[in-house]
């Protein structure tokens, strides 16, 4: 059996898709999260309900949407909602099982930054902003974060806390407190990167390496070198590689135009 050829980006998409269980309600923004969700629907989670914050409820798009408002996302959905319903009701009431999020930076507590690199009043880079990510991070039953594994992306503390992880700021005094003290629902359960799958320690809520793409030649040393904080690798096991079917579906059905998988 010849060895399968695939990229770290493909490994990341497949690993994320596997975390969606069949029948779950999933909310996604565009990009890798959407690719992972559609891949899941085409493989092991055909009954998953896909929601995009702009309106499509229970989508199963024929062609990959390139933005949340893309008419492709609305093709043959049973219901078109608006953001008041999807974000103000479905999400807020607790009906979203899974949120898949991206971002520019994630810190060791799973906080995400999609707002700015550097100081908020005078950053090096001004990013697009939260979109719906902050709401999803606060209110989904659980979230997964998808991000390329680079030292400048996996950081000790994010420059700006856009979307809350396991430790975040109390409004009144800016104390950096535990998520549960704030009464937020859910939390980030894993960070899926181009090198492996990170999870969060039960007690300390700090990120550690759970799995790594050994099949691609990724090593724990590489992960440590490319992480912007000291990360525990003691529990890491090799990840099960993508199957031929998953890659086939990803390449020929989910994103044949290589809009995101480039």
């Amino acid at each position: 059996m010849p060895k399968l050829h695939y990229t770290p980006r493909e490994a990341m998409a497949v690993a994320a898709s596997r975390l969606i269980k069949n029948g779950e309600t999933v909310i996604v923004g565009t990009g890798l999260p959407l690719v992972a969700a559609i891949l899941a629907k085409h493989t092991h989670a055909s009954d998953a309900i896909l929601i995009m914050e702009a309106g499509p409820y229970d989508g199963y798009p024929l062609a990959l949407p390139s933005c949340v408002a893309d008419p492709r996302g609305f093709w043959r959905v049973p219901l078109i909602c608006d953001p008041v319903q999807l974000m103000g009701q479905f999400l807020q009431k607790g009906r979203i099982n899974v949120g898949l999020l991206g971002g520019a930076q994630v810190d060791k507590y799973g906080n995400i930054n999609s707002t700015c690199i550097g100081d908020y009043r005078n950053p090096q880079v001004r990013l697009e902003g939260s979109g719906g990510a902050s709401d999803i991070a606060a209110l989904a039953q659980r979230t997964y974060i998808i991000i390329a594994h680079e030292k400048r992306r996996l950081v000790e503390r994010v420059d700006y806390l856009t979307s809350p992880g396991w430790r975040c700021y109390r409004y009144q005094d800016r104390e950096f407190i535990k998520r549960e003290e704030l009464g937020l629902r859910g939390g980030p359960e894993a960070v899926i990167t181009t090198m492996g799958i990170m999870k969060f320690h039960e007690e300390t809520k700090e990120m550690y390496v759970a799995e790594y793409y050994a099949d691609l030649g990724i090593t724990l040393e590489m992960i440590k070198e490319n992480t912007g904080f000291a990360i525990d690798v003691s529990q890491a096991i090799p990840s099960a590689p993508p199957t031929e079917e998953e890659l086939q579906v990803l390449r020929t059905i989910v994103d044949p135009e290589k809009i995101y998988m480039n």
Binding site: A69, P71, D82, Y120, S130
Partner: protein
């Protein structure tokens, strides 16, 4: 976008923009120097590229240099704010925002002009404890009270009834919240025609003040069922927007030098416009190329 270009042609300045989220309309208005304040949850072009005008006005000393003021929100809170505006109530509670820098008092860029500027709430948010059900702390987000809402729909009646095919987004709430609503449509028809299927109508005529027919009025963005995104246009504009000089050149060519919308359409040309047409059964054009260049 047609109306956005016209705002620029007419030299409108010091606009206070609210978008949820924002795209090219936001980036181009900012780049053209029309915007003083923007409240939004996102400005960008998603897969097509980054909002370089917005970045230029914000990063690396941009805020200090241009005087542009930005206010970050989220999709849910932006939606609830315009809902409050539509309901005529001063705020809505939310379980979102806690823990984040979005409500960090140090980062309220509008703080110094609140109070003095009557179009802004006195504070960004307020924290409140549920007095009814012991559900704990919530964040109160202030209503959005626009002077003007600008919407583009597929079909409108001459009297102002708006019909939206595909996603309604927050259009109805924006129209209800605003003092004045400008409704542009791909086609304006007789009011009676829209009475056959009232369940498809989203905007009531009485809250619409101006109706205008603007075919291809959303170009280069898509209109569900009619035409798809013009990725090539986006690629050119985004490339030009990376630099102040090239952006001004692009703006001159595509907005300021063109007298009106029809000149814009003529410049695009028949072949290009027709190539964007949606398959009537899909609602989009499966043949358009959508990669960033």
């Amino acid at each position: 976008m047609a109306i956005v270009y016209e705002l620029i042609r007419q030299g409108k300045k010091d606009l206070h923009l609210v978008t949820n989220p924002g795209g090219p309309e936001n980036d181009i208005l900012i780049g053209a120097g029309c915007v003083k304040i923007c409240e939004t949850n996102y400005i960008g072009h998603e897969v097509l590229g980054h909002p370089y005008c917005f970045r230029r006005f914000y990063e690396k000393g941009g805020l200090a240099k241009t005087g542009y003021l930005h206010d970050d929100w989220t999709v849910q809170t932006g939606a609830l704010r315009v809902l409050a505006g539509a309901m005529g109530i001063p705020f809505m509670p939310t379980k979102s925002l806690r823990g984040t820098d979005i409500i960090n008092l140090e980062y309220d860029l509008l703080a110094s002009i609140r109070g003095e500027n009557k179009k802004l709430p006195r504070k960004k948010v307020e924290l409140y404890t549920d007095p009814f059900w012991e559900e704990g702390e919530v964040v109160l987000v202030p209503a959005i009270k626009p002077d003007v809402a600008i919407l583009h729909v597929q079909v409108a009646g001459e009297g102002g009834t708006g019909r939206i095919y595909g996603g309604p987004f927050l259009d109805y709430y924006a129209a209800m919240a605003a003092k004045m609503t400008i409704l542009s449509a791909e086609y304006v028809t007789a009011e009676e025609h829209l009475r056959g299927q009232p369940e498809l109508n989203t905007i009531p005529a009485e809250i619409v003040d101006v109706v205008v027919e603007i075919p291809y009025g959303a170009h280069p963005t898509p209109v569900a069922g009619l035409y798809d995104v013009d990725a090539e246009f986006f690629n050119e504009y985004i490339a030009a927007s990376k630099d102040e000089t090239t952006f001004q050149k692009w703006l001159q060519e595509w907005v300021l030098d063109l007298p009106d919308h029809f000149a814009y359409l003529e410049k695009l040309g028949i072949r290009r416009l027709l190539s964007l047409r949606a398959d009537p059964f899909l609602g989009y054009n499966p043949g358009v190329k959508r990669r960033r260049s």
